[in-house]
Protein backbone atom coordinates (compact mmCIF):
# COMPACT_ATOMS: atom_id res chain seq x y z
CA UNK A 1 0.00 0.00 0.00
CA UNK A 2 1.10 3.53 -0.76
CA UNK A 3 3.15 5.06 2.00
CA UNK A 4 0.78 7.87 2.98
CA UNK A 5 -2.50 6.18 2.10
CA UNK A 6 -4.93 5.36 4.87
CA UNK A 7 -7.70 2.88 4.21
CA UNK A 8 -9.50 3.02 0.88
CA UNK A 9 -9.85 6.69 0.02
CA UNK A 10 -7.86 8.74 2.51
CA UNK A 11 -4.39 10.22 2.58
CA UNK A 12 -2.64 11.25 5.78
CA UNK A 13 -0.27 14.08 5.05
CA UNK A 14 3.18 13.47 6.55
CA UNK A 15 4.18 17.12 6.43
CA UNK A 16 0.84 18.87 6.73
CA UNK A 17 0.80 22.06 4.63
CA UNK A 18 -0.16 25.24 6.41
CA UNK A 19 -2.88 27.52 5.10
CA UNK A 20 -1.05 30.81 5.48
CA UNK A 21 -3.66 33.15 4.07
CA UNK A 22 -7.10 33.27 2.50
CA UNK A 23 -9.18 35.82 0.69
CA UNK A 24 -12.88 36.03 -0.08
CA UNK A 25 -14.98 38.21 -2.38
CA UNK A 26 -18.76 38.13 -2.32
CA UNK A 27 -21.66 39.74 -4.17
CA UNK A 28 -24.34 42.07 -2.78
CA UNK A 29 -26.74 39.38 -1.56
CA UNK A 30 -24.02 37.49 0.33
CA UNK A 31 -22.91 40.81 1.85
CA UNK A 32 -26.32 40.99 3.52
CA UNK A 33 -26.15 37.43 4.86
CA UNK A 34 -25.33 36.32 8.40
CA UNK A 35 -21.60 35.80 7.63
CA UNK A 36 -21.07 39.25 6.07
CA UNK A 37 -18.47 40.46 8.58
CA UNK A 38 -16.07 37.65 7.65
CA UNK A 39 -15.65 38.48 3.96
CA UNK A 40 -12.72 40.59 2.72
CA UNK A 41 -14.29 42.28 -0.27
CA UNK A 42 -18.02 42.95 -0.62
CA UNK A 43 -19.21 43.98 -4.07
CA UNK A 44 -22.02 46.47 -4.37
CA UNK A 45 -22.35 45.80 -8.08
CA UNK A 46 -22.44 42.19 -9.19
CA UNK A 47 -20.99 43.17 -12.57
CA UNK A 48 -17.82 44.30 -10.71
CA UNK A 49 -17.38 47.12 -13.27
CA UNK A 50 -17.21 44.64 -16.16
CA UNK A 51 -19.34 44.22 -19.27
CA UNK A 52 -20.58 40.66 -18.68
CA UNK A 53 -21.26 38.29 -15.78
CA UNK A 54 -18.53 35.97 -17.03
CA UNK A 55 -15.96 38.76 -17.04
CA UNK A 56 -17.10 39.79 -13.57
CA UNK A 57 -16.69 36.24 -12.25
CA UNK A 58 -13.21 35.93 -13.70
CA UNK A 59 -12.25 39.27 -12.16
CA UNK A 60 -13.48 38.03 -8.77
CA UNK A 61 -11.17 34.98 -9.05
CA UNK A 62 -8.23 37.11 -10.11
CA UNK A 63 -8.72 39.57 -7.28
CA UNK A 64 -9.29 36.84 -4.68
CA UNK A 65 -6.08 35.07 -5.70
CA UNK A 66 -4.09 38.32 -5.84
CA UNK A 67 -5.43 39.42 -2.48
CA UNK A 68 -4.66 36.07 -0.82
CA UNK A 69 -1.10 36.13 -2.18
CA UNK A 70 -0.63 39.72 -1.04
CA UNK A 71 -1.93 38.89 2.45
CA UNK A 72 0.68 36.14 2.66
CA UNK A 73 3.31 38.81 1.80
CA UNK A 74 4.19 36.94 -1.37
CA UNK A 75 4.19 37.71 -5.09
CA UNK A 76 2.45 35.70 -7.82
CA UNK A 77 5.84 34.48 -9.06
CA UNK A 78 6.50 32.91 -5.63
CA UNK A 79 3.57 30.55 -6.11
CA UNK A 80 4.52 27.22 -7.67
CA UNK A 81 1.06 26.08 -8.74
CA UNK A 82 -2.47 27.36 -8.95
CA UNK A 83 -5.22 24.74 -8.59
CA UNK A 84 -8.66 25.96 -9.45
CA UNK A 85 -11.89 25.68 -11.35
CA UNK A 86 -15.45 26.94 -11.57
CA UNK A 87 -18.87 26.14 -12.99
CA UNK A 88 -18.76 27.79 -16.38
CA UNK A 89 -18.21 25.83 -19.56
CA UNK A 90 -14.50 25.11 -20.09
CA UNK A 91 -13.84 26.72 -16.66
CA UNK A 92 -13.26 30.13 -18.26
CA UNK A 93 -13.47 32.11 -15.01
CA UNK A 94 -10.42 30.31 -13.66
CA UNK A 95 -8.36 29.95 -16.81
CA UNK A 96 -8.96 33.57 -17.80
CA UNK A 97 -7.82 34.58 -14.32
CA UNK A 98 -4.76 32.34 -14.73
CA UNK A 99 -4.03 34.11 -18.02
CA UNK A 100 -3.51 37.32 -16.05
CA UNK A 101 -1.84 35.77 -13.01
CA UNK A 102 0.75 33.78 -14.95
CA UNK A 103 1.06 31.13 -12.23
CA UNK A 104 1.47 27.53 -13.51
CA UNK A 105 -2.14 26.38 -13.60
CA UNK A 106 -3.98 23.10 -13.07
CA UNK A 107 -7.59 23.62 -14.19
CA UNK A 108 -10.06 21.44 -12.32
CA UNK A 109 -13.70 20.61 -12.69
CA UNK A 110 -15.49 19.03 -9.75
CA UNK A 111 -18.60 21.19 -10.03
CA UNK A 112 -19.22 22.72 -6.60
CA UNK A 113 -16.76 20.29 -4.96
CA UNK A 114 -13.85 22.15 -6.59
CA UNK A 115 -12.80 24.03 -3.42
CA UNK A 116 -11.84 20.90 -1.51
CA UNK A 117 -10.66 19.23 -4.70
CA UNK A 118 -8.14 22.04 -5.21
CA UNK A 119 -7.21 22.11 -1.50
CA UNK A 120 -6.68 18.31 -1.62
CA UNK A 121 -4.46 18.37 -4.69
CA UNK A 122 -2.57 21.45 -3.50
CA UNK A 123 -1.92 19.90 -0.10
CA UNK A 124 -0.73 16.61 -1.61
CA UNK A 125 1.47 18.52 -4.04
CA UNK A 126 3.23 20.34 -1.19
CA UNK A 127 3.45 17.25 1.01
CA UNK A 128 4.95 15.37 -1.92
CA UNK A 129 7.77 17.89 -2.04
CA UNK A 130 6.85 19.34 -5.43
CA UNK A 131 6.20 22.87 -4.26
CA UNK A 132 6.66 25.42 -1.48
CA UNK A 133 3.59 27.51 -2.16
CA UNK A 134 0.33 26.64 -3.83
CA UNK A 135 -2.87 28.61 -4.29
CA UNK A 136 -6.30 26.96 -4.39
CA UNK A 137 -9.23 29.01 -5.65
CA UNK A 138 -12.76 28.62 -6.98
CA UNK A 139 -15.70 30.82 -7.82
CA UNK A 140 -19.32 30.97 -8.86
CA UNK A 141 -21.65 33.77 -9.90
CA UNK A 142 -25.43 33.70 -9.61
CA UNK A 143 -26.01 35.41 -12.94
CA UNK A 144 -23.51 33.44 -15.04
CA UNK A 145 -24.72 30.15 -13.51
CA UNK A 146 -28.39 30.98 -14.08
CA UNK A 147 -27.90 31.69 -17.76
CA UNK A 148 -25.83 28.56 -18.28
CA UNK A 149 -27.92 26.11 -16.28
CA UNK A 150 -31.41 27.62 -16.02
CA UNK A 151 -33.42 30.56 -17.33
CA UNK A 152 -32.61 34.13 -18.34
CA UNK A 153 -32.58 36.43 -15.30
CA UNK A 154 -35.65 38.44 -16.26
CA UNK A 155 -37.78 35.39 -17.02
CA UNK A 156 -40.78 35.30 -14.67
CA UNK A 157 -40.62 31.69 -13.49
CA UNK A 158 -41.27 30.32 -10.03
CA UNK A 159 -38.63 28.31 -8.13
CA UNK A 160 -39.61 25.21 -6.22
CA UNK A 161 -38.84 25.15 -2.46
CA UNK A 162 -36.02 22.60 -2.96
CA UNK A 163 -34.12 24.90 -5.32
CA UNK A 164 -30.98 26.70 -4.19
CA UNK A 165 -29.41 30.07 -4.84
CA UNK A 166 -25.98 30.14 -6.52
CA UNK A 167 -23.54 32.12 -4.41
CA UNK A 168 -21.78 35.03 -6.11
CA UNK A 169 -18.30 34.85 -4.71
CA UNK A 170 -14.76 33.63 -4.98
CA UNK A 171 -12.41 32.28 -2.36
CA UNK A 172 -8.67 31.67 -2.55
CA UNK A 173 -6.30 30.03 -0.08
CA UNK A 174 -2.49 30.03 -0.08
CA UNK A 175 -0.93 26.80 1.15
CA UNK A 176 2.68 26.67 2.26
CA UNK A 177 5.18 24.02 3.22
CA UNK A 178 5.92 25.88 6.45
CA UNK A 179 3.70 28.05 8.58
CA UNK A 180 1.76 28.40 11.78
CA UNK A 181 -1.34 26.68 10.57
CA UNK A 182 -4.12 25.84 10.42
CA UNK A 183 -2.92 22.71 8.68
CA UNK A 184 -4.46 20.30 6.19
CA UNK A 185 -3.87 16.91 7.77
CA UNK A 186 -6.13 14.42 5.99
CA UNK A 187 -7.60 14.26 2.52
CA UNK A 188 -10.50 11.96 1.70
CA UNK A 189 -11.30 11.80 -1.98
CA UNK A 190 -14.88 10.99 -2.86
CA UNK A 191 -16.25 8.58 -5.41
CA UNK A 192 -19.10 9.46 -7.72
CA UNK A 193 -22.43 8.43 -6.21
CA UNK A 194 -25.77 8.40 -7.99
CA UNK A 195 -28.97 7.41 -6.22
CA UNK A 196 -31.12 8.24 -9.22
CA UNK A 197 -32.31 11.79 -8.51
CA UNK A 198 -33.24 13.48 -11.80
CA UNK A 199 -34.66 16.77 -10.54
CA UNK A 200 -32.13 19.52 -11.29
CA UNK A 201 -34.05 21.70 -8.83
CA UNK A 202 -33.15 19.34 -6.02
CA UNK A 203 -29.36 19.20 -6.09
CA UNK A 204 -29.16 18.82 -2.31
CA UNK A 205 -30.86 15.45 -2.55
CA UNK A 206 -28.71 14.46 -5.54
CA UNK A 207 -25.48 15.22 -3.65
CA UNK A 208 -26.46 13.92 -0.19
CA UNK A 209 -25.43 10.29 -0.87
CA UNK A 210 -21.96 11.41 -1.99
CA UNK A 211 -21.58 13.63 1.10
CA UNK A 212 -22.71 10.83 3.40
CA UNK A 213 -20.41 8.33 1.70
CA UNK A 214 -17.35 10.57 1.99
CA UNK A 215 -18.06 11.27 5.67
CA UNK A 216 -18.47 7.55 6.39
CA UNK A 217 -15.37 6.66 4.38
CA UNK A 218 -13.39 9.31 6.22
CA UNK A 219 -14.49 7.90 9.59
CA UNK A 220 -13.64 4.33 8.58
CA UNK A 221 -10.28 5.20 7.03
CA UNK A 222 -9.06 7.43 9.87
CA UNK A 223 -10.83 5.89 12.85
CA UNK A 224 -12.30 9.29 13.75
CA UNK A 225 -15.95 9.92 14.42
CA UNK A 226 -18.10 13.01 14.92
CA UNK A 227 -16.72 13.56 18.44
CA UNK A 228 -13.22 14.13 17.07
CA UNK A 229 -14.37 17.21 15.20
CA UNK A 230 -15.54 20.62 16.36
CA UNK A 231 -17.41 20.98 13.13
CA UNK A 232 -18.24 18.87 10.09
CA UNK A 233 -19.43 21.10 7.28
CA UNK A 234 -20.53 20.26 3.75
CA UNK A 235 -20.31 22.60 0.78
CA UNK A 236 -23.70 23.35 -0.68
CA UNK A 237 -26.29 20.73 0.19
CA UNK A 238 -28.77 23.29 1.45
CA UNK A 239 -31.40 22.49 4.03
CA UNK A 240 -32.87 19.51 2.20
CA UNK A 241 -29.53 17.87 1.45
CA UNK A 242 -28.17 18.55 4.93
CA UNK A 243 -31.06 16.77 6.61
CA UNK A 244 -30.82 13.88 4.15
CA UNK A 245 -27.09 13.52 4.83
CA UNK A 246 -27.58 13.35 8.60
CA UNK A 247 -30.21 10.71 7.96
CA UNK A 248 -28.05 8.62 5.59
CA UNK A 249 -25.03 8.77 7.90
CA UNK A 250 -27.22 7.81 10.86
CA UNK A 251 -28.56 4.78 8.99
CA UNK A 252 -24.93 3.69 8.61
CA UNK A 253 -24.29 3.85 12.35
CA UNK A 254 -22.87 7.32 13.04
CA UNK A 255 -24.63 10.29 14.61
CA UNK A 256 -23.32 13.60 13.28
CA UNK A 257 -26.39 15.67 14.07
CA UNK A 258 -24.83 17.67 16.92
CA UNK A 259 -21.89 19.26 15.08
CA UNK A 260 -22.83 19.09 11.45
CA UNK A 261 -23.97 21.86 9.15
CA UNK A 262 -23.72 23.04 5.57
CA UNK A 263 -22.11 26.17 4.07
CA UNK A 264 -25.23 26.73 1.93
CA UNK A 265 -27.37 26.86 5.05
CA UNK A 266 -25.01 29.21 6.91
CA UNK A 267 -24.26 31.79 4.21
CA UNK A 268 -27.83 33.04 3.80
CA UNK A 269 -30.70 33.80 6.12
CA UNK A 270 -33.03 31.13 4.77
CA UNK A 271 -36.13 32.76 6.22
CA UNK A 272 -35.64 36.28 4.94
CA UNK A 273 -33.33 36.18 1.91
CA UNK A 274 -35.61 34.33 -0.50
CA UNK A 275 -33.08 31.60 -1.28
CA UNK A 276 -35.39 28.62 -0.67
CA UNK A 277 -33.23 25.65 0.42
CA UNK A 278 -30.00 27.69 0.73
CA UNK A 279 -26.85 28.62 -1.17
CA UNK A 280 -25.01 26.59 -3.78
CA UNK A 281 -22.12 26.88 -6.23
CA UNK A 282 -18.33 26.52 -6.04
CA UNK A 283 -18.21 29.91 -4.39
CA UNK A 284 -20.40 28.77 -1.50
CA UNK A 285 -17.93 26.55 0.33
CA UNK A 286 -15.05 28.69 -0.98
CA UNK A 287 -16.14 31.91 0.70
CA UNK A 288 -17.51 30.23 3.83
CA UNK A 289 -14.19 28.49 4.29
CA UNK A 290 -11.90 31.36 3.23
CA UNK A 291 -14.01 33.88 5.14
CA UNK A 292 -15.76 32.46 8.16
CA UNK A 293 -14.13 29.09 8.93
CA UNK A 294 -10.54 30.27 8.44
CA UNK A 295 -11.21 33.14 10.82
CA UNK A 296 -12.67 30.79 13.42
CA UNK A 297 -9.67 28.47 13.13
CA UNK A 298 -7.24 31.37 13.54
CA UNK A 299 -9.15 32.66 16.55
CA UNK A 300 -9.17 29.19 18.05
CA UNK A 301 -12.95 29.08 18.21
CA UNK A 302 -12.61 25.96 16.12
CA UNK A 303 -9.75 23.51 16.43
CA UNK A 304 -10.57 20.78 13.99
CA UNK A 305 -12.89 20.97 11.03
CA UNK A 306 -13.88 18.48 8.36
CA UNK A 307 -14.73 20.49 5.24
CA UNK A 308 -16.53 18.56 2.53
CA UNK A 309 -17.35 20.45 -0.65
CA UNK A 310 -20.09 18.76 -2.63
CA UNK A 311 -20.61 18.75 -6.37
CA UNK A 312 -23.45 17.80 -8.69
CA UNK A 313 -21.86 16.50 -11.86
CA UNK A 314 -24.67 17.28 -14.26
CA UNK A 315 -24.79 19.39 -17.40
CA UNK A 316 -27.79 21.01 -19.08
CA UNK A 317 -27.41 18.41 -21.85
CA UNK A 318 -27.39 15.41 -19.50
CA UNK A 319 -30.50 16.73 -17.74
CA UNK A 320 -32.36 17.16 -21.03
CA UNK A 321 -31.38 13.65 -22.08
CA UNK A 322 -33.05 12.34 -18.94
CA UNK A 323 -29.89 11.30 -17.08
CA UNK A 324 -29.88 11.21 -13.30
CA UNK A 325 -27.53 13.51 -11.37
CA UNK A 326 -24.24 12.03 -10.12
CA UNK A 327 -22.81 13.63 -7.00
CA UNK A 328 -19.29 13.87 -5.58
CA UNK A 329 -17.85 15.07 -2.28
CA UNK A 330 -14.25 15.59 -1.24
CA UNK A 331 -13.23 15.98 2.39
CA UNK A 332 -10.24 17.72 3.94
CA UNK A 333 -9.39 17.86 7.62
CA UNK A 334 -8.20 21.29 8.67
CA UNK A 335 -6.86 21.68 12.18
CA UNK A 336 -4.81 23.80 14.48
CA UNK A 337 -2.06 22.01 16.31
CA UNK A 338 -1.30 22.65 19.93
Amino acid sequence: MAEKKLGLQTVKLKNPPSIISTSSIVGPKESEGPLREYFDIKLEDDLFGEKSWEKAESKMVREAVRNAIEKAKLKPQDIDYYFGGDLLNQIISSSFAARELQIPFFGLYGACSTMTESLSLGAMNIDGGYSDYVVAATSSHFCSAERQFRFPLEHGNQRPPTSQWTVTGSGAAVLAKKGNGPYITYVTTGRVMDFGIKDANNMGAAMAPAAADTILRHFKDTGFDAKDYDLIITGDLGKVGRDLTVDLVFKNGYDISSNFTDCGVEIFDLENQDVHAGGSGCGCSAVVFCGYLYNQLLNKNLKKVLLISTGALLSPTSTMQGESIPGIAHGVTIERMG
Binding site: E154, G156, I197, L244, D247
Partner: protein
Protein backbone atom coordinates in the same frame (compact mmCIF):
# COMPACT_ATOMS: atom_id res chain seq x y z
CA UNK B 1 -21.11 3.08 2.84
CA UNK B 2 -21.17 -0.70 2.97
CA UNK B 3 -22.20 -2.24 -0.33
CA UNK B 4 -25.35 -3.87 1.04
CA UNK B 5 -26.50 -0.76 2.88
CA UNK B 6 -25.73 1.36 -0.17
CA UNK B 7 -27.95 -0.76 -2.38
CA UNK B 8 -30.77 -0.72 0.14
CA UNK B 9 -30.58 3.07 0.58
CA UNK B 10 -30.38 3.57 -3.16
CA UNK B 11 -33.57 1.57 -3.59
CA UNK B 12 -35.41 3.48 -0.86
CA UNK B 13 -33.91 6.86 -1.69
CA UNK B 14 -36.85 8.20 -3.64
CA UNK B 15 -39.11 7.54 -0.65
CA UNK B 16 -36.64 9.04 1.84
CA UNK B 17 -36.28 12.18 -0.30
CA UNK B 18 -40.01 12.44 -0.80
CA UNK B 19 -40.55 12.45 2.96
CA UNK B 20 -37.96 15.19 3.56
CA UNK B 21 -38.83 17.45 0.64
CA UNK B 22 -40.55 20.69 1.55
CA UNK B 23 -43.75 21.01 -0.45
CA UNK B 24 -44.89 24.08 -2.35
CA UNK B 25 -47.50 26.18 -0.59
CA UNK B 26 -50.27 24.87 -2.80
CA UNK B 27 -53.20 27.01 -1.64
CA UNK B 28 -51.19 30.24 -1.47
CA UNK B 29 -49.64 29.60 -4.90
CA UNK B 30 -53.07 28.91 -6.43
CA UNK B 31 -54.63 32.02 -4.89
CA UNK B 32 -51.72 34.22 -6.06
CA UNK B 33 -51.90 32.74 -9.59
CA UNK B 34 -55.67 33.31 -9.67
CA UNK B 35 -55.50 36.89 -8.41
CA UNK B 36 -52.57 38.05 -10.58
CA UNK B 37 -53.77 36.10 -13.65
CA UNK B 38 -57.23 37.59 -13.12
CA UNK B 39 -55.85 41.11 -12.82
CA UNK B 40 -53.92 40.73 -16.08
CA UNK B 41 -57.16 39.61 -17.74
CA UNK B 42 -58.99 42.60 -16.23
CA UNK B 43 -56.42 44.92 -17.73
CA UNK B 44 -56.88 43.18 -21.07
CA UNK B 45 -60.64 43.54 -20.78
CA UNK B 46 -60.27 47.22 -19.95
CA UNK B 47 -58.33 47.82 -23.16
CA UNK B 48 -60.80 45.74 -25.12
CA UNK B 49 -63.72 47.82 -23.87
CA UNK B 50 -61.81 51.01 -24.57
CA UNK B 51 -61.06 49.96 -28.15
CA UNK B 52 -64.68 48.95 -28.72
CA UNK B 53 -65.88 52.29 -27.39
CA UNK B 54 -63.51 54.01 -29.81
CA UNK B 55 -65.44 52.34 -32.60
CA UNK B 56 -62.88 49.75 -33.67
CA UNK B 57 -64.68 46.82 -35.35
CA UNK B 58 -65.23 43.84 -33.04
CA UNK B 59 -63.22 41.40 -35.20
CA UNK B 60 -60.15 43.66 -35.14
CA UNK B 61 -60.15 44.44 -31.45
CA UNK B 62 -58.29 41.29 -30.39
CA UNK B 63 -55.31 42.23 -32.60
CA UNK B 64 -55.11 45.67 -31.01
CA UNK B 65 -55.50 44.10 -27.62
CA UNK B 66 -52.75 41.51 -28.16
CA UNK B 67 -50.37 44.23 -29.32
CA UNK B 68 -50.97 46.29 -26.19
CA UNK B 69 -50.63 43.34 -23.80
CA UNK B 70 -47.47 42.06 -25.52
CA UNK B 71 -46.02 45.55 -25.26
CA UNK B 72 -46.89 45.74 -21.55
CA UNK B 73 -45.25 42.35 -20.87
CA UNK B 74 -42.12 43.39 -22.76
CA UNK B 75 -42.03 46.79 -21.06
CA UNK B 76 -42.29 45.32 -17.56
CA UNK B 77 -39.61 42.74 -18.45
CA UNK B 78 -37.33 45.54 -19.59
CA UNK B 79 -37.91 47.39 -16.34
CA UNK B 80 -36.97 44.21 -14.45
CA UNK B 81 -40.38 43.91 -12.82
CA UNK B 82 -41.94 40.95 -14.61
CA UNK B 83 -39.65 38.35 -12.99
CA UNK B 84 -40.65 39.68 -9.57
CA UNK B 85 -44.32 39.34 -10.46
CA UNK B 86 -43.65 35.83 -11.81
CA UNK B 87 -41.89 34.77 -8.61
CA UNK B 88 -45.13 35.23 -6.70
CA UNK B 89 -47.75 34.64 -9.37
CA UNK B 90 -46.31 31.54 -11.09
CA UNK B 91 -48.66 30.35 -13.82
CA UNK B 92 -50.80 33.45 -13.22
CA UNK B 93 -48.27 35.58 -15.08
CA UNK B 94 -46.79 32.88 -17.36
CA UNK B 95 -50.00 31.76 -19.08
CA UNK B 96 -51.38 35.13 -20.30
CA UNK B 97 -49.90 36.66 -23.45
CA UNK B 98 -47.79 39.00 -21.28
CA UNK B 99 -45.92 35.91 -20.09
CA UNK B 100 -45.30 34.87 -23.69
CA UNK B 101 -43.85 38.30 -24.30
CA UNK B 102 -41.66 37.95 -21.18
CA UNK B 103 -40.34 34.58 -22.41
CA UNK B 104 -39.11 36.20 -25.65
CA UNK B 105 -37.81 39.49 -24.28
CA UNK B 106 -35.92 38.03 -21.31
CA UNK B 107 -33.54 35.81 -23.37
CA UNK B 108 -33.18 38.62 -25.93
CA UNK B 109 -31.92 40.87 -23.12
CA UNK B 110 -29.81 38.16 -21.54
CA UNK B 111 -27.95 37.11 -24.68
CA UNK B 112 -27.32 40.58 -26.13
CA UNK B 113 -23.71 40.27 -24.97
CA UNK B 114 -23.18 37.41 -27.43
CA UNK B 115 -24.06 39.77 -30.29
CA UNK B 116 -27.20 40.52 -32.29
CA UNK B 117 -27.01 37.54 -34.65
CA UNK B 118 -26.00 34.49 -32.61
CA UNK B 119 -26.95 36.08 -29.30
CA UNK B 120 -30.26 37.93 -29.54
CA UNK B 121 -31.31 36.43 -32.86
CA UNK B 122 -30.55 32.82 -32.11
CA UNK B 123 -31.45 32.72 -28.42
CA UNK B 124 -34.61 34.85 -28.48
CA UNK B 125 -36.90 31.87 -28.88
CA UNK B 126 -35.21 29.36 -26.55
CA UNK B 127 -38.20 29.40 -24.22
CA UNK B 128 -41.00 30.50 -26.55
CA UNK B 129 -39.82 28.31 -29.45
CA UNK B 130 -41.60 25.12 -28.29
CA UNK B 131 -44.81 27.08 -27.70
CA UNK B 132 -44.67 28.41 -31.26
CA UNK B 133 -43.79 25.04 -32.83
CA UNK B 134 -46.50 23.07 -31.08
CA UNK B 135 -49.00 25.93 -31.03
CA UNK B 136 -48.77 26.45 -34.78
CA UNK B 137 -48.62 22.69 -35.52
CA UNK B 138 -51.71 21.93 -33.47
CA UNK B 139 -53.62 24.86 -34.98
CA UNK B 140 -52.86 23.45 -38.45
CA UNK B 141 -54.14 20.02 -37.40
CA UNK B 142 -57.28 21.50 -35.86
CA UNK B 143 -57.75 23.55 -39.04
CA UNK B 144 -57.57 20.42 -41.22
CA UNK B 145 -60.05 18.57 -38.98
CA UNK B 146 -62.39 21.57 -39.07
CA UNK B 147 -62.14 21.69 -42.87
CA UNK B 148 -63.35 18.12 -43.23
CA UNK B 149 -66.06 18.30 -40.58
CA UNK B 150 -67.51 21.56 -41.78
Amino acid sequence: MEKKMEEKLKKDFEKIVHKKNPTSKFVKDCVMAFVVGGLICDIGQFFMNTFLSLGIPKEDVSYYNAAVMVFLGAFLTGLGVYDDIGKHAGAGSIVPITGFSNSIVSPAMEFKREGYVFGVGAKMFVIAGPVLVYGISSSVIVGIIYYFLK
